[in-house]
Symmetry: C2
DNA sequence: CTGAAAGCGCTAACAA
DNA sequence: TTGTTAGCGCTTTCAG
């Protein structure tokens, strides 16, 4: 029982008593075919349960190239959201999506890009932040050029652009600005001792959020206190741990800026477990506005990031200038804004 | 700037001053090639930044066929978990994964299966429950046969098998049993008035959970009360709404069995918003044991489902009997068990 | 050790 | 309206 050979267009042709060309034309509907013949062919296709071979088509240059997404982990709600948006958009265009997870390993990311090149994907969309790392950066530059050279594109989604002159499409959001506004919201509510928890300053996402935070502090005339900074990788665990450490350290604070909503959930849990009330005792803001964030109690005040939209637009731009379109690199940046819910109170 | 033609193996051959055959052999490493020649070829590949064309390979029959996953929505944590497990396993085998979302539309699911057939995927893995619908079922039977006919497989993941004789691989979990045990846990804690919220009895997943629930009630000698049943589609919203309705209806209850953890989060929120304490006033159990479930307060008592594992095993089985392996349909069912946390208390 | 030739399944000139 | 032919990029006999 080796590969039961797949039914080919020739089989259909034979059965319908026509040439392969005719079958092809019936399928493509791009050429006149006598109605009777057409019906005969259609019946043969039906009877044989024929489906065309994508690879043969692709080889002929007729294929609809797929789209590829590369992300760290589908379980991260932000990435899942972007992936979902992208999927929907791709489906709308009849495109197939390859989704590959890398577990955050840059080597795997590059490997995947390579696989996509082999595959002739019309675009490779990289979702999520990057670690700042020069050799990696250089390889990315190469990748962008290589993809461009064959009429394909590299798209960064929720990841800052590299240098200006690169054939790269970037769909990003105002990461730094969101952090600035979130911090300002805390400041405006009278908070001065604000902790920041869970961010990774070496990751583009974390770095931008830190920047916005400190800029807001500076603009608000509040001196930053290193004792109130707890770095991490944006997970629940580091939100929880960071908060617990902060509490134990005895450095007072009246508000926490969690670098992600996921970390904020950890912050909330740690505070609750310590017998503190949110927002009466401590105020909390998050970042991302996950689907889940309005549902926790208290509802989480956070920064809205249009994750689905990022994915959708990434696909749209990737598809816009198909192989024969103009090659202009594109750059779109979405706004972010604070969504006020119940986790921030005026400082007593 | 039309399709900058992609570098081909011939280009490499020309540059290295050898035949295409030799280049192919250097790539495949399946045939002796003089070291000097090899190096020349490798250099040419490097210089030209050549990557082989997957489609040509696939056409020749040498390709590594991809794997396809079909699921409703990547944003659902259960599906994301399964997808992640599957991805990792696939990556381990050097396979590419196509992930397609259907938005729960059976028509799209079928369409996707078709695309996968065109693609020659070695397996199509369907993740998640199904609605009970006969015409759809029949098409699925057809799909299973069609895939099998070309040496590919259809895999159900977290979805009950169809008829016995089908060439279908099933990786499922003891859905009914989990609900039975969760309900028993409530019963064992003295609860008699137990509401069930959020399930869709027309979906395979919901139906199994309802069955387990009612069986446990029957075995425990507790007559089921229709007034305590609130159906839905397993979302946060229906957990919330169901609970609110229950509360307003005035039918007393001391515990809620939420059909999914996601619904349980809604139940928890509704209870909290109504000024009730969990578990002091009302006990709650969920189902799924999402990553998030231990992190809410109180920690959610729930039924563990090994979602990642389901995905991993689905891939493993799909790959096990490659095209030339034996065709035996397989069926594996994972156990489920109750994870006790803090949302259930003894009935006062 | 290397190369020439055939062909995977499909489509597009070009003829008829 | 239909068929014939050639060829996409690769691998693989089969000869050299």
């Amino acid at each position: 029982m080796t590969d039961a050979a797949r039914t080919t267009l020739r089989d259909v042709a034979a059965r319908a008593g026509v040439s392969a060309t005719t079958v092809s034309r019936v399928l493509a509907e791009n050429y006149p075919v006598a109605e009777a013949t057409r019906r005969r062919v259609l019946r043969a296709i039906e009877e044989l349960d024929f489906v065309a071979n994508t690879h043969a088509r692709a080889l002929r240059g007729q294929g609809t190239p797929s789209l590829a997404f590369v992300l760290r982990d589908v379980r991260c709600p932000e990435y899942a959201a972007a992936a979902q948006g992208a999927q929907e958009e791709a489906a709308r265009h009849g495109r197939l999506c390859l989704i590959c997870t890398t577990g955050g390993d840059p080597a795997r990311e590059l490997a995947v890009i390579r696989q996509m090149r082999e595959h002739g994907a019309s675009a490779v969309i990289l979702i999520g932040g990057v670690h700042k790392d020069d050799p990696y950066r250089d390889r990315m530059v190469e990748a962008a050029r290589a993809l461009d050279a064959v009429g394909s594109r590299l798209v960064f989604c929720g990841r800052p652009r590299l240098e200006e002159a690169l054939p790269l499409t970037v769909v990003d959001y105002d990461n730094e600005g969101g952090a600035y506004r979130a911090t300002n919201h805390l400041l405006a509510n009278g908070h001065r001792r604000i902790a920041i928890v869970g961010g990774d300053p070496l990751c583009s996402v974390g770095a931008g959020r830190f920047d916005g935070f400190f800029r807001a502090l500076a603009d608000g005339g509040v001196p930053p206190d290193p004792a109130l900074v707890r770095t991490g990788v944006g997970t629940y665990a580091c939100g929880y741990r960071g908060t617990t450490e902060l509490l134990e350290s005895g450095h007072g604070f009246s508000a926490v800026f969690a670098i992600t909503d996921t970390a904020a959930f950890g912050v909330l849990a740690a505070l609750t477990d310590a017998g503190l009330r949110v927002p009466e005792d401590v105020s909390v803001v998050g970042y991302d506005n996950l689907e889940f964030s309005p549902t926790v109690r208290p509802g989480l005040t956070t920064v809205h990031v249009p994750h689905e939209e990022l994915g959708r637009v990434a696909v749209r731009l990737a598809l816009r200038s198909g192989p024969r379109g103009e090659r202009t690199p594109r750059h779109v940046v979405f706004d972010t804004h604070v969504v006020v819910r119940d986790s921030v109170a005026r400082r007593a």
